[in-house]
Structures are given as structure tokens and as C-alpha cells.
Amino acid sequence: MRYALLMHYREPGEGEISEEAIEAAQEAFGAYGRALESAGVLLSADVLQPTSGTTSVTRREGGLQVQDGPFAETKEALAGIFMVEVPDLDAAIGWAEKCPGAQWGVVEVRPTATAFIDGAWTR
């Protein structure tokens, strides 16, 4: 099954995190990415820019609306997306648990309903 591991955490303020801590986190994410890849479960991995860089787009009200900022202001923001392909929830929880983001935030494990593969949506 395909799962999205969605990292959520409070966005740190500028200068709030020391250079060493940033380096340590980068190293941890590097090791995590390599582990996912060598296990053959990784589909994609993206760590996102802070929400200050986000733009929300909708045509819900008819016309195009482009808005600065996330669609919902929350204390903890979506910070990264890891797509993995594993046999079951236990395996997905196992990878979520190893995610560095779980150390300071929450990793949501969300199964895929359908994915666009080889020109068609899977059921």
C-alpha cells in the first residue's frame, strides 16, 4: 500500500535554532532518506518551505482567488511529505517512527486512496 507520511510541527522563528542543531537535523534527514531508499520503499520525499512562502489558490467562489499564506492558520504546519510504498500500516508506522520530524513534531500516516500510475488512476 502507498502511504503519505506527513510531517507537522511548529515553525521555528528566525534564528531560533542554532547552526549545529540545523546541521544535526540535516544529517538525520539524510540518513533517513538513505534508509528509505535502500529499503526500496521510497516513492518521493520533500521537506517544504515555511508557510511564509506558501500561496493558496481557489476558484471555489467562481473567480480565481490567489491568497498569500496557507488555507488554514494552524499552530503546527505541514512541513514535509514522504510518499512510501509498504505492505501495511505497521510498516508505515515503523517508518513514521524513524522520521526525524517525529522527534519534535507529529508524523501523520495517511494511506493513499488512489494514485496516478502509468497513465491511469489506480482503483
Binding site: M1, P87, D88, L89, D90, P111, R123
Partner: protein, 434 residues
Amino acid sequence: MDTLTSGDGGREAGPGPGAGGPGPGPALRSADVAARDSYGRLLALLAAATSDLAGAEDALADAFERALRTWPSQGVPASPDAWLLTVARNRLRDEWKSARVQRAVPLDAAPDTLAHIDDVDVDAIPDRRLELMLVCAHPAIDRAMHTPLMLNTVLGFTAEQVGRAFSVPAPTMATRLVRVKKRIKAAGIPFRIPDLADLPARMASVLEAVYGAYVIDWATGPQARQLPSEALHLAEVLTTLVPDDPEALGLAALIELSAARAPARFDADGRFVPLADQDPALWDRELISRAHEHLRVAHARGQLGRFQLEAAIQAVHCARGPAGTTDWPTLLTLHRILQAIAPSLGSGVALAAVTAEVDGPAAGLAALDALLLEAGQRARLFQPARATRAHLLDRLGRKEEAVAAYDSAISLTHDTAEREYLERRRDRASGVSR
């Protein structure tokens, strides 16, 4: 324990086993036996193949329905289980095929999930109930649903029966059960035994869920109480699935020892009889010896745990012969160890009560009040703490305080018989004769 049904969505099984009618024929009886013995086993096997509990329940319910329709005229098959499994399996396969035809787009890596269930030898049906129990107690499922889900799937209780045990309206319980089964399928919770690294924690949740079935026995009163033998059944099933797990054995022993005393818990007028006043002659000797056997095997594993200790405590209570002497010093030691390895409000209150037996009611009350002070708000609504406090004040002759304490315990007691017992004690303490 009467009806076994698909358990799905509160739907009754229609002409299900145990539905009664005057004098069931051999076909009905045979279906009933098959239902009791193998419902969980068949469901576990079917669900493990597809991870789809609701679908497996539907297929199995269909098989039972067909059995009740055809067995009376065509005769009961030599192996009812094999017959039921074959019918349910065919039904699942048909469903799966027609679903595949309807798919407009290709299924990714279309795995033939039914392949391995086709390989099952229907004459030697493997037992996958441990996998089913592990799914029911999975950490990704709301804790409050672990026990209801287990009763519903492993033992085939209807949503209505489970709802009654948990004091939840049947439609509400049905909705919750449907939702949680959907979640199992959608989230991809696996029907498999986890790695050795994860197994102990997962088994602990399974034991908790079985213990949950035992606890509701005591909370719902004798009239509503339909499940006592089923907590027992669940625990004994578990000991056959994990015969080497000392805590599973301890839990079975604990439930057996409590169930053994059930016949003595109420007098001829249906009034609650506390343990100290029970007639040991009414206790079920067979259940007690079964419990001792389980405890003996458990202790031989040399791994002490909470359930073994609780069972040992019950065993000491059950060792009280007709002479009526209880070994309080041993009980005190056991309660102290229990409170040390698995501290809880309940075990703390029990420790205070036993302290009162060994060192006098003043010492017991001091221990209890210290515990209540520490536990704070949480302890205020804990019925056993309130009832124990009332008894201790009563024994110390502090009648006025005892009456107030009895009042507070009475307001927290759900069991009618026990409430009436507390009312009698309160009236005696206040000098009212009834």
C-alpha cells in the same frame, strides 16, 4: 450467551443460531454448535485473507443463513466448519470477481488476495484468531473500541449485546463498530503476528482488551450481565493461542477464579453478598482447579506480571475453606508487590483494605486517605475507594462520617444489588433498622 450473528451493523442474523423457536432440530443445534465453536475461527481466516472484516462477516453470515436453509432438508454435512468455510469463500470470490469487472481502470499490481485462502485445507482449518485479536487491539484503533470489537468479531456478539454490556445504545455501538472496521481496511492494519520486538507491547493490549471484557462483567449488574462466561471464553481462547505467555495464563486464572465465585455473590433473594460473607461451598471447584493449573504453568515460566499477581490474590481468597480463615498476611504481601509493579488506583484501594485486615482499620484508613490525597480529583468518583472508606469508618465507630461516606459510595454504584447492600450498611450505621 445465546445468539451468534454476523455482528455487522447491529443487523440481526435473521434466522440465526440461537434465534430459538420451539425445539430446534438437529440441524439448528448443529449450526448452533458450529457457530459457537468456530465463528471467530472462520471469521479470522476469511478476514485475514482480505483485511476486510465487514466483507468477511457478510460472507460468513450468508453461509450460516444458507446452512439453516439447506441443512434441515439435505442433512448436516460431516464437517459443518468446512462446509461453512467453503460457502463463505465462494461468496467472497464472487464478490471480488464482480468488483473487478466493474473497475474502469486497472488495479495497481492487482494481487489475488484470495489466492492463499483457496489453499486452505478445509478439513484442517488453521487458527488465525490471534491475528484477529491483535487487529482488534491495534494501537491505531481507539482504545475504547478494543474490547467491543473483540467481543463482536472473535465471539460473534451482536452490536446490541455489546452495546448493552457497555451501556451504549445499540445503534451507537453498531455505528462505532462499522466505522472501526472500515478504518481497519482503509488504514491497512495487517492480520499478522508482529515482530518479536513489537510483540510484547501488542500482546499487552490484547490482554488489556480481554481484561476489559472481564471488568464489564462486574459493572453491569446481574440482569444485564450476559457476558461473564464470554470474558472467560475469550481468556481461555487466548491461552490456547499463546500457551507460553504467563500473563495470558494469569489473566485466564484471574477470570476463572472470579467466575468461580459468581454463584455465591448473590443470595436467594438476589441480594449482593460480599466476599467475606460468601459460602465457599457455593464456589465452582472445577473452575478453581482450572485456574490453579493455569497459574502453575504460568509461574513455571518465571516471569511475574500483573495478571498473575491478581490471580494469585484471588487464589488466596478462594483458599478460604468452610472454616472461614483468610491468609491476610500473604494477601498483604501480594498486594504490596502488585502495587509496586503495576500501581493503579484500584490496587491501591485494595492494598488499603487488606492493610486494615492485618494492621487494623485505623492503619487501613490512613493508607487509603494518603492514597486519595495523592490521586486527587480522579479518586473522588472512584466507587471502590468510597465504599472501602465507608466500611473502614464504620468499623472505627465513626458512624456519622461513615453514613456520609456510604451515601457518596451509593451515588457512585451502578450495580443495583451492590447499591442495596451499601444502603443496608448505611442504615445500620445510622441506627435505622429495616
